[in-house]
C-alpha cells in the first residue's frame, strides 16, 4: 500500500512535468532569446534608461528648465543651459540644454523627472543593461540619452550649422 501510494504520488508529480514539457515556454529566455533585446520583453510603463525626446522637426524638446533636476530625489541630473541662436538652433524654445548628464550611479528610476517635465522631453525608455566595470561610464551624457532623429527627416538631416562644420554626432542607442 505504502509503495503504491508513493508510485501514485510520483506519477502525479511527473504528469505535471510531462504536460508542461509540450507547452510553449512562457519565461523570458534572456539573454539568449531572439531579436535585438535578446528575448527581454517590457511593459510599456517600464522605467528604464531615460530618453530625451525630439519634436516633429527633429529639434530637442528639452528647454533646460531644471525642473527634472529639482524634482530628482537622488540629485543625479546635471544641466547646463545655453541660448539658442538663429545659426545654432538645438531646441524649439529660447534655451536648450548644452550639457545634460544623468548619473546612473545615483538614479533610482522613480520617474519624478518624467512627471516634472513641462515639455515631455524626458521619458523613460526600456534600456536596462547598465552594468559596467567602470562607474564613470554610468554618467550618461546628452548624446547618449537623446532619441534618434525622426525617420521622416532622413538619417542625414542636419539641424544646425555647427553640425555641418563639426560633423553630426554618432547616434547612440539608449542603454548601449
Amino acid at each position: 500500500m505504502c509503495i503504491l501510494r508513493d508510485i501514485a504520488a510520483i506519477a502525479k508529480g511527473m504528469s505535471v512535468t510531462f504536460r508542461e514539457m509540450f507547452r510553449p515556454t512562457i519565461v523570458e529566455n534572456y539573454p539568449k532569446g531572439p531579436g535585438p533585446l535578446r528575448g527581454a520583453r517590457f511593459e510599456e510603463r517600464y522605467r528604464g534608461v531615460h530618453v530625451l525626446q525630439r519634436d516633429e522637426n527633429g529639434l530637442e524638446k528639452c528647454v533646460a528648465c531644471f525642473l527634472c533636476a529639482a524634482a530628482c530625489p537622488s540629485n543625479c541630473i546635471y544641466i547646463e543651459a545655453a541660448e539658442n541662436t538663429a545659426e545654432h538652433r538645438v531646441s524649439g524654445a529660447e534655451r536648450y540644454a548644452q550639457v545634460y548628464n544623468i548619473d546612473y550611479n545615483r538614479c533610482i528610476f522613480c520617474g519624478y523627472c518624467v512627471e516634472a517635465c513641462p515639455t515631455d522631453a524626458i521619458t523613460h525608455g526600456h534600456g536596462f543593461e547598465l552594468a559596467t566595470f567602470n562607474v564613470s561610464n554610468l554618467i550618461y551624457r546628452k548624446e547618449q540619452l537623446l532619441a534618434p532623429r525622426p525617420a521622416h527627416l532622413g538619417a542625414n538631416a542636419v539641424f544646425n550649422r555647427a553640425e555641418v562644420e563639426g560633423g553630426a554626432p554618432p547616434v547612440v542607442a539608449p542603454g548601449e
Binding site: 528647454v63 533646460a64 528648465c65 531644471f66 525642473l67 533636476a69 529639482a70 547646463e80 543651459a81 545655453a82 541660448e83 524654445a93 529660447e94 534655451r95 513641462p118 515639455t119
Partner: protein, 785 residues
C-alpha cells in the same frame, strides 16, 4: 505722530497715524499680497491684489493706498477677498505667456507665487495671447513685453530711486507698455535695478540670461570689490570644472547697507573672475620669458632671494607695494610681513584719499565719522567735490533717497555740474581747484569771494549758502580727494562748529580705507600711528624698524640708483597707475601677485596667481569706515588667496610663521566661510565643535586667525565679532594721531560707473556696455542727466 487704534482680522492693534494699511498689516504679521506696492516708492494702486474689506465701506479697498484711521475694522482674508484676488491673477494671466520653464524669473517669480496661493489654475479667457518678440534694450537689459504685468515698479525705481527716468509708459489702458527712453534701447546708468525689482520675468538680465535657475545656485552674501562704498552683494554660485563659478550678482536679502541698491559693477562686473586671461599658474621669468612653473618652485625662489637680500643688505633694499582691493587681514599681514619678516618700512599703496590727515583732523573727536546708514538719515548733507553718482553710486543713492523720503537738505559744492545738484537745496558751482578757497569762505574769510564768484554762482548765493550751513544741525559733510592735508583739517574745524556734524572722507577703491587703516604707509603703523611711536606694536611683534621707509616714487628712485634690490607687489598695478619707467626696476628682483598679466607683469620676475575678494574670506572697510565681512563665493583652481601666499613666502624665508599669524585654538573660528560654499561637511564639523565648546583649529592660512590681533591693536576696530560674523556692517571710528603727507601722493582713481581700475578692463559686462555706448552717435540731449 499719535497712535491710531485699528482692528485687523479681529486683532486690536495700534499703529502710528499716517501708516499705510498694507504696512500696518505687515507689521502685524499679516501678509497682504501686492505687485505694484513697493516700500519707499510712490503709490500706484495698479495691480489690485491688496484688496481688503474695510467695515462700512461698500467695496473692497486697496490696502496699499489706504491710510489707517481711528477705529478702522479690516478683514484681510475672506471668501470674497480670495475670489477677488483670484480674479485679479486670472486677469494678469490673461496675456501672460506661461513660458515659466524658459523664463529666467521662474522659481523666484511673484506671479508664480500668487498663482499658487490663489489657485487661478484655469482661465475663462480663450482668446489667443498677444505675442511680441523679446527686445534687447541694452547689453544687460532684456524686455519681454507679454510677461509684463504693468506694476510700474521699474518706472518708479528708475525715476524716483535712481533719478534716471529712462523708463516710461506708452499708451493707455490695456495697451499700456513699458518703454525705454530711446525708442528701442535704453540710455541709462545700467544699474539693473529695474530687473531686480521686476516681480515677473519681463525685465531680465543679459549677464545671467538662461544660465541656470535660482534654486540651482548657492547664494553667498559678500561685499562688492569695486568702488569704496562696500555694497552687500549676494553672489549666486555653482560648481564648475575649474572650481566654483559665479553666475549672478544681486542683493537678494536686501539687508546690507545698500538695501535695494546695487550699481552695474556690483550686479554684473563679477565676471572678471573667469576672464580667459586670468593667470592660473605661477610664472617665473627664465631667459627673459615668463614661463609656467610650480608653486613650490616659485616659493623656493622668492624665499631664497628675499632671505639673501635681507641678509646681505638688510630690509631697506626691499620695497613692498600693497593693494586697496585686498582684505584688511591681508593688508595687516602684508605690513607686518614687511616690518617684521623683511624688517623694512618700505611699504606703500595707491592712495586715493588723505586718510592720515583725516585721522589727524579728527583726533580726539568721538562719533565724528558718519556711516553709510547715517547718510540716509541725516537731516542735512554737504557734498564738496567728487561726483558721487559716478564714483560712489551707493552714496549718491543714500543722498538722493534721503532727500526724497526724509526731505533733508542737500548742499552741493562742485567745480562740475554734477547730477546730484538736481536734489540739492543749494548748489555752488565753483571754479576748478578752488575747493580750498571755499573752505576758507566757510571759515569766514570773505576775501576769497572774488575767486569763487562766477556767472552761475553769484556772491549772494555763496554767502547765503554759508549762512544756511551755519544754521544746520547734525550735518553730514562728505568730501572727495580735492581736499587734503591742511585744507581738510580746516574743513573739519569749520564743520565741527555745527553741532553733531559728522564727516565722510571719500576713497576710491573697495578697501582704500582699510588699506590706510591697516598701515600700508612707510611712516604709519596700523591705526595711523607714526612708526616712531609704535611702542605697542614693538612689544607685540618683538622689534620694529624705526626710520620711516620709502614711498612709491622714492622706491622708483632708489631702484634707479641701484639701492632697491627687490620689489614685492601685492594686487596692485603701480607701473600703469604711476606711469613708472619700466626700466627703473631692471636690476631689481620683482615679485608680483595678481589675477592678470598687467603692465606691472612686464617688469616682474615672478608672477603669482592671486585670488580676488570674491574668492576669499576676510573683512573690508568701506570709505565711511563700515566694517563688513567678505565670504568666499567663487574659486578658480590654481590660484591662492594673497593671505596664504604671504604666509608661505615668510615660511620659505625661514621665518617662524607663528610669530606672523597667531593661529591655533582658543579663538573665534571661521565657521566655514573661508572654505567655500560647497564644503558642507567641514562647516558642520566646525559648527559642532563650536556648539560643544571644543577648540576649533585655525590654520595659518585662515584670515580669521589675525583678525583678533587687528581688533586688539587697531583703534576703532573693537567691534562685536558676533555681529560681524552674522554679516552685519559695523561702523569703525578712525583712530590714531595721523600725520600730514605730501598731497601729491594721492592719485584719485577717477573711475566712473562703467570703469573699475584694472578689474574693469577684464569684465565682459562693463566692456560690452562701454562698447555699446561708443557705437551710438553722440547726441546733444543726454537721457540720464
Amino acid at each position: 505722530m499719535a497712535d491710531v487704534n485699528i482692528t485687523l482680522d479681529g486683532k486690536k492693534l495700534t499703529a502710528p497715524a499716517g501708516t499705510l494699511l498694507i504696512e500696518a498689516c505687515k507689521n502685524a504679521g499679516i501678509e497682504v499680497p501686492s505687485f505694484c506696492y513697493y516700500p519707499g516708492f510712490s503709490l500706484q494702486g495698479a495691480c489690485r491684489m491688496c484688496l481688503v474689506k474695510i467695515e462700512k465701506v461698500p467695496k473692497l479697498q486697496t490696502a496699499c493706498t489706504t491710510v489707517i484711521g481711528e477705529g478702522m475694522i479690516v478683514t484681510t482674508d475672506s471668501p470674497e477677498i480670495h475670489q477677488a484676488r483670484k480674479s485679479m491673477v486670472e486677469l494678469l494671466l490673461g496675456n501672460h505667456p506661461l513660458d515659466c520653464p524658459v523664463c529666467d524669473a521662474g522659481g523666484e517669480c511673484e506671479l508664480q507665487d500668487m498663482t499658487f496661493a490663489y489657485g487661478a489654475a484655469e482661465s475663462k479667457y480663450i482668446d489667443i495671447k498677444n505675442h511680441r518678440e523679446e527686445q534687447q534694450w541694452s547689453p544687460v537689459v532684456y524686455f519681454d513685453r507679454p510677461r509684463c504685468i504693468l506694476c510700474y515698479r521699474c518706472v518708479r525705481v528708475c525715476g524716483e530711486g535712481m533719478d534716471v527716468w529712462a523708463l516710461g509708459i506708452q499708451n493707455r489702458g490695456v495697451a499700456s507698455v513699458i518703454a525705454p527712453n530711446k525708442e528701442d534701447h535704453l540710455e541709462c546708468e545700467e544699474c539693473g535695478m529695474c530687473i531686480d525689482i521686476c516681480p515677473v520675468g519681463a525685465l531680465t538680465s543679459g549677464a545671467y540670461r538662461y544660465k541656470t535657475r535660482p534654486w540651482e545656485m548657492k547664494h553667498i552674501d559678500t561685499t562688492c570689490t569695486h568702488c569704496g562704498d562696500g555694497c552687500r552683494t549676494t553672489l549666486g554660485v555653482r560648481r564648475a570644472d575649474t572650481g566654483i563659478e559665479i553666475v549672478r550678482g544681486d542683493n537678494r536679502d536686501k539687508s546690507g547697507i545698500n538695501g535695494d541698491f546695487l550699481c552695474i559693477k556690483g550686479r554684473y562686473a563679477f565676471d572678471f573672475v573667469d576672464n580667459e586671461q586670468r593667470i592660473k599658474q605661477p610664472l617665473i621669468r627664465k631667459d627673459g620669458r615668463l614661463t609656467p612653473s610650480s608653486w613650490e618652485e616659485a616659493f623656493e625662489l622668492i624665499g631664497r632671494r628675499f632671505a639673501e637680500i635681507c641678509g646681505r643688505e638688510g630690509g631697506r633694499a626691499i620695497g613692498v607695494i600693497g593693494s586697496s582691493k585686498t582684505s584688511n587681514e591681508e593688508n595687516y599681514l602684508l605690513q607686518k610681513f614687511a616690518r617684521v619678516v623683511l624688517g623694512t618700512n618700505n611699504i606703500d599703496h595707491h592712495r586715493t584719499g588723505d586718510f592720515p590727515a583725516f585721522a589727524r583732523a579728527l583726533a580726539g573727536k568721538l562719533d565724528a565719522t558718519a556711516s553709510m546708514r547715517d547718510v540716509f538719515k541725516a537731516p542735512a548733507m554737504l557734498v564738496i567735490g567728487n561726483d558721487p553718482t559716478n564714483q560712489h553710486p551707493l552714496l549718491a543713492w543714500q543722498i538722493r533717497n534721503n532727500v526724497r523720503l526724509h526731505r533733508s537738505r542737500l548742499y552741493v559744492i562742485n567745480s562740475q555740474p554734477i547730477k546730484l545738484r538736481r536734489q540739492a537745496t543749494a548748489f555752488a558751482h565753483i571754479p576748478a581747484g578752488s575747493e580750498a578757497k571755499l573752505v576758507a569762505l566757510l571759515a569766514g574769510d570773505d576775501s576769497v569771494l572774488d575767486v569763487l564768484v562766477s556767472e552761475n554762482t553769484p556772491r549772494e548765493a555763496l554767502l547765503s549758502l554759508r549762512d544756511r550751513l551755519r544754521g544746520e544741525q547734525n550735518l553730514v559733510i562728505i568730501f572727495g580727494a580735492e581736499l587734503r592735508g591742511e585744507e581738510m583739517a580746516r574743513l573739519v574745524k569749520v564743520g565741527s562748529a555745527v553741532s553733531g556734524a559728522k564727516f565722510v572722507c571719500l576713497g576710491d577703491y573697495a578697501n582704500s580705507r582699510g588699506a590706510a587703516d591697516m598701515g600700508l604707509y612707510p611712516d604709519l603703523l596700523p591705526g595711523y600711528l607714526p612708526v616712531t611711536q609704535g611702542k605697542t606694536f614693538r612689544e607685540e611683534w618683538g622689534g620694529l624698524p624705526d626710520a620711516p621707509g620709502l614711498t612709491i616714487p622714492q622706491m622708483v628712485d632708489a631702484a634707479k640708483a641701484g639701492q632697491l634690490k627687490a620689489l614685492y607687489v601685492v594686487g596692485a598695478n603701480p607701473v600703469a597707475r604711476f606711469n613708472i619707467d619700466p626700466f627703473a626696476f631692471a636690476k631689481s628682483f620683482v615679485v608680483m601677485q595678481d589675477m592678470f598679466l598687467t603692465e606691472t607683469a612686464l617688469i616682474a620676475d615672478v608672477v603669482l596667481p592671486g585670488a580676488n575678494a570674491y574668492e576669499k574670506s576676510g573683512t573690508f572697510t568701506n570709505t565711511c569706515g563700515d566694517l563688513q565681512l567678505l565670504r568666499k563665493a567663487g574659486e578658480v583652481t590654481g590660484t591662492k588667496p594673497d593671505f596664504e601666499i604671504i604666509v608661505r613666502i615668510a615660511e620659505r624665508m625661514g621665518f617662524d610663521v607663528r610669530k606672523l599669524v597667531p593661529f591655533g585654538g582658543g579663538m573665534w573660528a571661521d565657521m566655514g566661510q573661508s572654505r567655500g560654499a560647497q564644503s558642507g561637511e567641514a562647516d558642520r564639523h566646525s559648527v559642532w565643535l563650536e556648539a560643544h565648546g571644543l577648540e576649533t583649529k585655525l590654520s595659518p592660512f585662515d584670515p580669521m586667525a589675525i583678525l583678533d590681533e587687528i581688533q586688539r591693536l587697531v583703534p576703532g576696530y573693537h567691534v562685536s565679532r558676533r555681529t560681524l560674523l552674522s554679516g552685519t556692517d559695523q561702523h569703525t571710528r578712525i583712530g590714531g594721531p595721523g600725520i600730514l603727507h605730501n598731497p601729491e601722493l594721492i592719485v584719485p582713481a577717477n573711475d566712473d560707473l562703467f570703469t573699475s581700475g584694472t578689474l574693469g578692463r577684464y569684465s565682459r559686462a562693463l566692456n560690452s556696455v562701454l562698447e555699446n555706448q561708443r557705437r551710438k552717435p553722440v547726441e546733444t540731449e543726454v537721457a540720464a542727466d
